[in-house]
Amino acid sequence: MAELTYLQAISDGLRTEMRRDKRVFLIGEDVGVYGGAFKVSLGFQEEFGPWRVIDAPLAETAIVGACTGASMMGLRPVAEMQFADFISCAWDHLVTVAAKQRWRAGTPVPIVVRLPSGGGFSGGPFHSQNPESSFAHIPGLKCVCPATPEDAKGLLISAIEDPNPVLYFEHKHLYRRIKGEVPEERYTVPIGKARTHREGSDLSVITWGAMVYTAEEAAQQLDGDGVSVEVIDLRSIMPWDKAAVLESARKTSKVLVLHEDTRTGGFGAEIAATIAEEAFEDLDAPVRRIAAPDTPVPFSPPLEKAFLPQVDDVVAGLRELAEY
């Protein structure tokens, strides 16, 4: 097994599928000669040619529209948004056409939209968002949010295989900071299955994406208090692994839901509500949420630091739950 960065693992998964299946192609802004804004597809055009690694105009609606049509004609398109934030331009195509086509006409729409998301590097309000909850709310769309290189590759392959539109949220902050063993061969990570990032018995943190590492650091600090924290990495937001979350909630009876997206209407609300509905009699404390405040993401580094959930915030939240 090779040790790859999160970004290399995404490239590896995409390359694996493009080599295996000629129907798979990549389309996006500057994905060809330039290799993509984050160099995920560096060298792809040389290997697969300009017809399978297509530089698109600055028009997300056209990119997703083209993908939807191509998929209905039998291809397996992978679209790259330069930043997840820009997907709002493609909202209509995704939500009105791609998400509903299969239910309306029985035509599968096997497209993948890659969404470099998340903040932490002063990208400001247009380059830092985590819009997964908006799309998790749309029936017909799937949303995945890998946190590890291994899952990044396996979930991308699952997303390409899947007959439904899948939004693939890749966290920019993890691209080069996170490294891990990634099998060289082709493999899939099932969509809708959570991963226990860390086992614990006293408190549960339910999270995904870059917050998995924030939770991990916080959990380590609570080890010092003699409090054992379990971290569940959801990996998929839609469908999400309710069973794994409820199992952890029943085990520890104290749950903290952590996400980088803003608080109100964030996907954590759905998780908290589900725990309250289905595991009420197993709870020993209110389900807590830690999320970004309900504002756009600030440019200013100190402000962004205040905006994004930090390890200290999670530690404080966990301590409060532990003491409850």
Partner: protein
């Protein structure tokens, strides 16, 4: 204003194994005067029903536990003296019992008072703690809390459950389906008393434990009847005691048990326990079908007929007057039940666990009986006959052994002389 010292009345500890009691009846109301040692209320535990005397003279200022409620030993039931609502000073604050939740008094019509449901000690009980408490029959207020503000956490609860000596299997709760009315039209529901619950559990457990077999024997009671006629006047005149047939049978049974130790024994785990003493239980019915109690005559093997007659009379009286204490009903090794008073001639009683046998005595009736005279001639005579059964646990007592026990018991009764020696 408190013009006198307030005194708490708490649920008394009625025996080492008794953990809770039910208030069955208040004999005084709030505001009434009471003298020290005057009965204040009646309580019922799974072993006995009894009266609780007032610990002090004064006004009943507060009644905190309503009739029908079951509370833990030590729970404050009422307050004598002091001012209403002012808690009595408690020398040991940590031992201060917590009142159970009780319905708030109905607010007066003109002032709508917010109904306050004191939830135990006022601390929040989380859903999971409530569930574990219900499953194990634990009052969360009895559990020391380490959570915020002393809240009982799930971990506190689990640790408490672990420490429970009985490993607390869920206490059998009345099986009332949720949402179902307890009584349909024409039916009436009454709460299950602690005693009834105890009887129900005990009877079921006995049938689930022992291999019940019943053998019966017919006994010619002519000699006992004759002896009793003589002794009755003497005992009543000299001791104020009626030598009942039960006393004769008890005396004969205790003697017979010496030769049949397994009938007076117990199957305890991997051991068979036998004794050189007989603690004789006598089943006593309480009034109006309100329950059955089995007080015990300790060391019955040391008593003569008079002693047993006195003991039977004493226990029967105290049972009906609710003056028994739990030690009166503990430690029996063999039991006699006498359902014959209303004419029944046979029965199959349930063994009083962990004993191995129970003797049943039935109606004494005159019956035509074939007798053989000294010359070997058969004749029919009129005899006062009584059927006696021995219901025994066949795990320990074999049929032939039980048969010999009954034979010897009959021989003793049929050859009775005087006060039985």
């Amino acid at each position: 204003m408190a013009t006198e010292t307030a005194v708490d009345v708490v649920m008394p500890q009625m025996g080492v194994s008794v953990s809770e009691g039910t208030v069955t009846k208040w004999l005084k109301r709030e505001g009434e005067q009471i003298e020290a040692d005057e009965p204040l209320l009646e309580i019922s535990t799974d072993k006995v029903d009894t009266e609780v005397p007032s610990p002090a003279s004064g006004t009943v200022t507060q009644i905190l536990v309503q009739e029908g409620e079951t509370v833990a030993v030590g729970t404050k039931l009422a307050q004598i003296g002091g001012a209403a609502g002012v808690p009595a000073p408690t020398p040991e604050p940590e031992a201060q019992p917590q009142p159970e939740p009780q319905p708030a008094p109905a607010p007066a019509a003109e002032e709508r008072v917010a109904v306050q449901q004191p939830s135990g000690n006022g601390k929040f009980v989380s859903p999971v703690v409530a569930r574990i408490a219900a499953e194990h029959g634990i009052d969360p207020n009895q559990v020391p809390g380490t959570g915020r503000g002393g809240r009982v956490t799930k971990q506190d609860m689990l640790a408490f459950v672990e420490r429970q000596p009985t490993a607390a299997p869920a206490r059998p709760q009345p099986q009332v389906a949720v949402g179902q009315p307890q009584a349909a039209v024409g039916e009436q529901a009454e709460p299950v008393t602690a005693m009834r619950r105890g009887i129900a559990d005990h009877m079921r457990r006995s049938l689930d434990t022992a291999a019940h077999v019943t053998s019966a024997i017919e006994v010619d009671m002519s000699k006992v009847v004759a002896a009793r006629e003589v002794l009755k006047k003497e005992y009543q005149a000299a001791y104020g005691v009626n030598p009942t047939y039960l006393a004769f049978i008890a005396r004969a049974a205790v003697d017979t048990l010496k030769d049949y130790p397994y009938v007076n024994g117990e199957l305890r785990g991997d051991s068979i326990v036998t004794r050189n003493f007989v603690n004789l239980g006598i089943a006593v019915e309480l009034a109006d079908g309100k329950g059955l109690i089995v007080p015990v005559i300790r060391n019955a093997e040391t008593m003569n007929l008079l002693g047993i007659a006195k003991a039977v009379a004493d226990l029967a009286a105290r049972s009906r007057e609710k003056k028994l204490v739990p030690d009166d009903v503990a430690g029996g090794t063999f039991t006699i039940t006498n359902p014959g008073g209303y004419g029944t001639f046979h029965g199959t009683p349930v063994i009083n666990q962990p004993q191995s046998a129970i003797l049943g005595t039935y109606a004494l009736v005159k019956r035509p009986w074939v007798i053989t005279d000294e010359n070997g001639n058969d004749a029919i005579a009129i005899k006062p006959m009584m059927n006696i059964t021995l219901t025994y646990d066949h795990r320990l007592v074999d049929g032939a052994y039980a048969g010999r026990f009954l034979r010897d018991l009959r021989t003793r009764l049929e050859s009775w002389e005087g006060d039985g020696g």
